[in-house]
C-alpha cells in the first residue's frame, strides 16, 4: 500500500511549523488574536487544507507512519458495512440497529440530515428514557425498549419502533423588520417490538461530524473547568457546566466531551457505544445486544467486533484532520468575526483552546486549536429543549457545538441543516433557535443590520 513519502511529509511539517512559528501565541478567547497564518490553522498541526467534499475525511498531515497506517485501517472499518451473522465478511449486524455502517450516518464523516416530514432519515436516531436517573446517574432505561429506539432490524427481528417528524413554521422578525421563519419539529414515535409507555422522554439526534476528536480529548479537564461558571458568578447570564458521565470502559465517572449533551467521555466510549447502539454490533466493551431481554435473538454475549477494530475506528476519528479556516483576507468575513464576538457568541463558542499532553495521540498535544466550543453544557431554553436529562445535563442543556469546519457543510454533506435534530435549515436559523443562556446573544443578533448579519454568516462560512 502506498504511503506518503517521508521527505514530503517532513517538508510539509517543516513548512507548517515555519508558519506557526512566525507569530506568538494567539489571543485567549477574545475572538481574533494571532495573524492570518495562525488563524487558518483551526486544528493546529492537525489542520488540513481541503475545501472539497473530502474536507472532513482526510487524515491529519502530521501523523507518524504507524499512526497513519492505523488511521487507514480504521478508515476501512469506518466504511465497513455489517450484515447478519453468519457471514464471511462483517457479520454481527443487529438484531436491531439504526444503520449498517458508520459511514452511512456520518456521510463523508460529516453531519446528518434531518428527516423530511413523514419520512425516515438514515442519520437521525432517537434516544429514549423515563424520568429519573438510571444506573450510575445516566438516563433511566425504558422497560423493554432501553435507551435508544432502533428503527431497523434484521429479517426475523422487530425494530423497537419508528419515528416521524412534522414541522410547524414559526414566524419572527429582526429588529429592522426583516421577517424569518423557524420550523418547529414535533416527533411521533410508534412502538415496535414493545409498546412505548406513556411519559417516555425522547431526544432526536442527528449524526455529528467526527473529525478532530483527539484535539478535543487533549484539552485537559482543568482547562475546560476554567471556562466553567456553573453558578454564573460573573453575572453574565451564562453558566457553563461540565457534564460528568459514567464511562463503562474505565469504570469511572469522567468529564463528558462528546455527544450532543457531552454524554460520552472519550472517543473510545463513543465508538464502542455507536457500534452497539447504532449497528447492534457487540464488543467486549458493550457485550450485550441493545435489545437484550426484549425479544428473541438478543441474548447472546459474543463480541461481534474485536477490541482491535474498535480501537482502529477510535484512532481514525481521533486523527481526522480539521479543515483550515478560509477567506482570511475577506473583509466582510473578518468583520463578521468581530460581530460574532460582540454579540457574545464567543463566550461559549470559544475561539481558542490549548491542548495539553496526550500520550495516546501525541500529534494532538500541546497546541492552540480553534474549535469554537467550550465543550460545556448550557441551558438553551425551552425551544430547543428535549426534556430528556442525560447524566448532569438537564432537559434543556446542550453541549456547545464545535463550529470548526461548519462552513463546509454544504460541500461535504449537500445540506445546511444544523442543531441536534437538524431543524435549522441554515446557520442563521441555528442562531435564532438559541435561547436561555444565549438569549442575550440572540437579542444582539436580532438587532444587527443586514450588512452585519451577512458579515456574521460570512465569518461562519469561513470556518
Amino acid at each position: 500500500m502506498s504511503r506518503v513519502g517521508p521527505s514530503l511529509l517532513l517538508m510539509t511539517l517543516a513548512l507548517v511549523a515555519a508558519c506557526s512559528d512566525s507569530t506568538g501565541a494567539g489571543g485567549g478567547g477574545g475572538g481574533g488574536g494571532g495573524d492570518d497564518d495562525e488563524l487558518a490553522l483551526a486544528g493546529g498541526t492537525m489542520t488540513v487544507f481541503d475545501a472539497t467534499s473530502t474536507a472532513f475525511k482526510s487524515p491529519a498531515p502530521n501523523l507518524s507512519q504507524e499512526s497513519l497506517d492505523r488511521h487507514i485501517a480504521g478508515d476501512a472499518q469506518f466504511e465497513a458495512t455489517f450484515v447478519s451473522a453468519p457471514a464471511p465478511v462483517n457479520p454481527g449486524l443487529g438484531p436491531v440497529f439504526d444503520n449498517t455502517a458508520c459511514g452511512n450516518c456520518h456521510i463523508n464523516d460529516g453531519r446528518g440530515l434531518a428527516p423530511a416530514p413523514g419520512q425516515p432519515s438514515p442519520s437521525l436516531l432517537f434516544r429514549i428514557s423515563l424520568a429519573g436517573a438510571g444506573e450510575h446517574g445516566g438516563p433511566l432505561a425504558v422497560p423493554s425498549a432501553g435507551t435508544q429506539m432502533q428503527q431497523r432490524a434484521i429479517i426475523g427481528a422487530m425494530p423497537k419502533g419508528s419515528g416521524a417528524v412534522t414541522f410547524e413554521e414559526v414566524p419572527g422578525q429582526f429588529d429592522d423588520g426583516t421577517p424569518f421563519s423557524l420550523r418547529r419539529p414535533s416527533y411521533q414515535l410508534t412502538g415496535g417490538s414493545a409498546p412505548l409507555p406513556g411519559g417516555v422522554l425522547v431526544s432526536p439526534r442527528v449524526a455529528p461530524p467526527v473529525f478532530g476528536l483527539a484535539l478535543l480529548e487533549a484539552v485537559s479537564e482543568q482547562t475546560l473547568l476554567v471556562a466553567a461558571d456553573p453558578d454564573d458568578r460573573d453575572g453574565d447570564g451564562i453558566s457553563g457546566r461540565a457534564n460528568y458521565v459514567w464511562d463503562p470502559i474505565t469504570g469511572a465517572t469522567e468529564i463528558g466531551r462528546f455527544g450532543w449533551k457531552a454524554n460520552s467521555a472519550t472517543a473510545l466510549q463513543q465508538t464502542a457505544a455507536a457500534y452497539n447502539g447504532d449497528m447492534g454490533v457487540t464488543s467486549s466493551y458493550f457485550p450485550a445486544e441493545p435489545c437484550e431481554g426484549e425479544q428473541a435473538g438478543c441474548d447472546r454475549h459474543d463480541p461481534e467486533v474485536s477490541d482491535e477494530i474498535v480501537g482502529l475506528v477510535q484512532h481514525y476519528i481521533r486523527t481526522l484532520g480539521v479543515p483550515a479556516r478560509r477567506s482570511l483576507d475577506d473583509a466582510r468575513a473578518r468583520r463578521g468575526e468581530t460581530v460574532f464576538a460582540n454579540a457574545g457568541c464567543a463566550k461559549c463558542h470559544l475561539p481558542e483552546l490549548r491542548t495539553g499532553t496526550f500520550a495516546e495521540v501525541p500529534e494532538a498535544a500541546n497546541q492552540v486549536i480553534r474549535p469554537y466550543t467550550d465543550l460545556l453544557l448550557h441551558d438553551m431554553g425551552p425551544g430547543l429543549a428535549d426534556g430528556r436529562p442525560d447524566f448532569l445535563a438537564s432537559g434543556s442543556e446542550w453541549r456547545t457545538a464545535p463550529l470548526w469546519g461548519i462552513g463546509l457543510t454544504a460541500v461535504v454533506n449537500g445540506h445546511t441543516n444544523f442543531l441536534h435534530d437538524g431543524r435549522a435549515r441554515n446557520l442563521m436559523e441555528a442562531i435564532l433557535w438559541h435561547d436561555g443562556e444565549a438569549a442575550g446573544a440572540k437579542t444582539k443578533v436580532l438587532g444587527l443590520s443586514q450588512a452585519d448579519r451577512e458579515a456574521l454568516l460570512a465569518f461562519l462560512g469561513s470556518l
Binding site: 508558519c19 495573524d35 497564518d37 458495512t81 482570511l328
Partner: protein, 356 residues
C-alpha cells in the same frame, strides 16, 4: 461500493499544505487556480461526462429489468445468460461513474442502494423463504445489502455456474422487484444531476460565481473532480485489488459471483480517463486535460500513458481476478503498481495545478 479515501486525501492535504504554507496564509479563495480559467472544464465535466454517464446507467438499468422480465416469462439458460450480460452492461456505466463519487450519490445517500457490499446472504435467504410478496416498494424498504448490484449479481450468477433450472420462483420474483428498485435508485441519481431537474450539474459549472454556496471557487471544484479521480485509483489499488490479494481471500472480492472484477477495475480507471479527456461515449467536450495543457503540458503524455497502462495491466490479471490472486500474482502486483503510479501522478502533479 464506497471505500475509504485516506491515502489520496492525505496526499492531497499534504500537497495543498505545501502550496498554502509556502504562501503562509494566502489561503483564501480566488476565482481561478493560478490564473487558469476553468469555466469550460467545469461546464463540460457535468454536461459531457457525468450526466451522460448517469443517463447511460439509467438506460442500462432499464434494459436489465427488461431482461429479467423476459427471464421470468421464459426461464431458459439463454435468457439467464442475457440477463447476466445485461447486469454486466449496467455495471459498466456505474463503474465508470466511480471516478466522481461526490455530490448527490453521497449526500442523498443513494450509493448504498446501488452498490452496498457485501450481500446480506442470511437475510436474503430469510426473505426468500418467508413467502412475503416482493415488490419494488418492499425491496426499497430493505437495507442496501439486500438490493443493488451485488444482490442482483448473487441471484443471477450464484456461487457456481448457475443454470436457469436452479432459479426458484422466489428468486425470480425477487429479481423482478430488485431490478426495478435499482432502476429507481439510478433514476434518482440521474435526476439529481439533470439540468431539467435537481441540476447538481449547475453547482459544478457555476463554481466561483456569486450565489454558489457549495463551490465558492473554480479551484475548489477542480480539486473536487481531481480528488474523485485520485479516490477511485486509491480504491482500486489499495482496496479492490489489495484486500482480496493481500489476504488471499476471494470472499473479499467485490464482484465475486460474476467474475466481473477485471471489467469493474478497468472501467473505474476509464472514469478517470473520461474526466481527464472530457468524454463519455459519443459525448465529448473540454476535459481536465486543458488544465494540464495550460499549466504543465509535459504532464499530459504522462497522465495519458499511465491511464492506459493501468487499464492494460488490469486486463492482464488472467484468467479472472479471483483466480489471479493465487495463480497469477505477478500480474496482480503489476496491475496494482500501475494503478498506484497513476494515482501518485494525479496526487503529486495534477492536483497541485488546481490549487491557487
Amino acid at each position: 461500493m464506497r471505500r475509504p479515501l485516506s491515502v489520496p486525501a492525505r496526499l492531497a492535504a499534504a500537497a495543498i499544505i505545501l502550496v498554502a504554507a509556502t504562501a503562509c496564509g494566502d489561503t483564501t479563495t480566488n476565482p481561478n487556480p493560478n490564473g487558469f480559467d476553468a469555466t469550460a472544464v467545469l461546464a463540460d465535466a457535468p454536461s459531457k461526462v457525468i450526466f451522460p454517464t448517469y443517463v447511460d446507467l439509467e438506460a442500462k438499468a432499464n434494459l436489465l429489468h427488461t431482461a429479467v422480465v423476459t427471464l421470468d416469462a421464459s426461464t431458459t439458460d439463454d435468457n439467464l445468460a442475457a440477463a447476466q450480460e445485461a447486469w454486466r452492461a449496467t455495471r459498466r456505466p456505474w463503474e465508470q461513474s466511480e471516478g466522481f463519487l461526490f455530490g448527490p450519490v453521497e449526500t442523498e445517500g443513494i450509493d448504498p442502494s446501488i452498490d452496498s457490499w457485501p450481500v446480506n446472504q442470511a437475510d436474503l435467504n430469510a426473505v426468500l423463504a418467508s413467502g412475503q410478496p416482493l415488490t419494488k416498494a418492499s425491496i426499497d424498504g430493505l437495507e442496501g445489502t439486500l438490493k443493488g448490484f451485488h444482490t442482483i449479481e448473487y441471484l443471477l450468477f450464484g456461487t457456481g455456474l448457475k443454470t436457469a433450472a436452479e432459479l426458484t420462483p422466489q428468486e425470480l420474483e425477487y429479481l423482478l422487484a430488485v431490478t426495478e428498485s435499482l432502476q429507481g435508485a439510478v433514476t434518482q441519481l440521474r435526476q439529481a444531476w439533470d439540468p431539467a431537474d435537481g441540476n447538481f450539474s449547475a453547482t459544478v459549472a457555476t463554481a466561483g460565481q456569486s450565489g454558489n454556496s457549495v463551490y465558492t471557487s473554480q479551484s475548489q471544484a477542480l480539486q473536487e473532480l481531481i480528488n474523485g479521480m485520485i479516490g477511485i485509483c486509491d480504491e482500486v489499488g489499495n482496496g479492490k485489488i489489495s484486500d482480496p490479494f493481500d489476504q488471499q481471500d476471494r470472499s473479499l472480492e467485490e464482484s465475486q459471483f460474476s467474475n466481473n472484477s477485471n471489467a469493474d477495475f478497468a472501467d473505474n480507471i476509464r472514469s478517470v480517463q473520461n474526466l481527464y479527456l472530457g468524454q463519455y461515449g459519443t459525448s465529448s467536450g473540454t476535459g481536465i486535460r486543458e488544465l494540464v495543457q495550460a499549466k504543465q503540458p509535459s504532464l499530459d503524455a504522462t497522465i495519458t500513458a499511465q491511464t492506459q497502462a493501468a487499464i492494460d495491466a488490469i486486463g492482464q490479471m488472467t484468467p479472472t481476478f479471483g483466480q489471479a490472486i493465487t495463480s497469477n500474482q505477478a500480474a496482480v502486483e503489476a496491475a496494482r503498481a500501475a494503478v498506484g503510479t497513476l494515482r501518485q501522478t494525479l496526487e503529486s502533479q495534477l492536483l497541485p495545478l488546481a490549487s491557487q
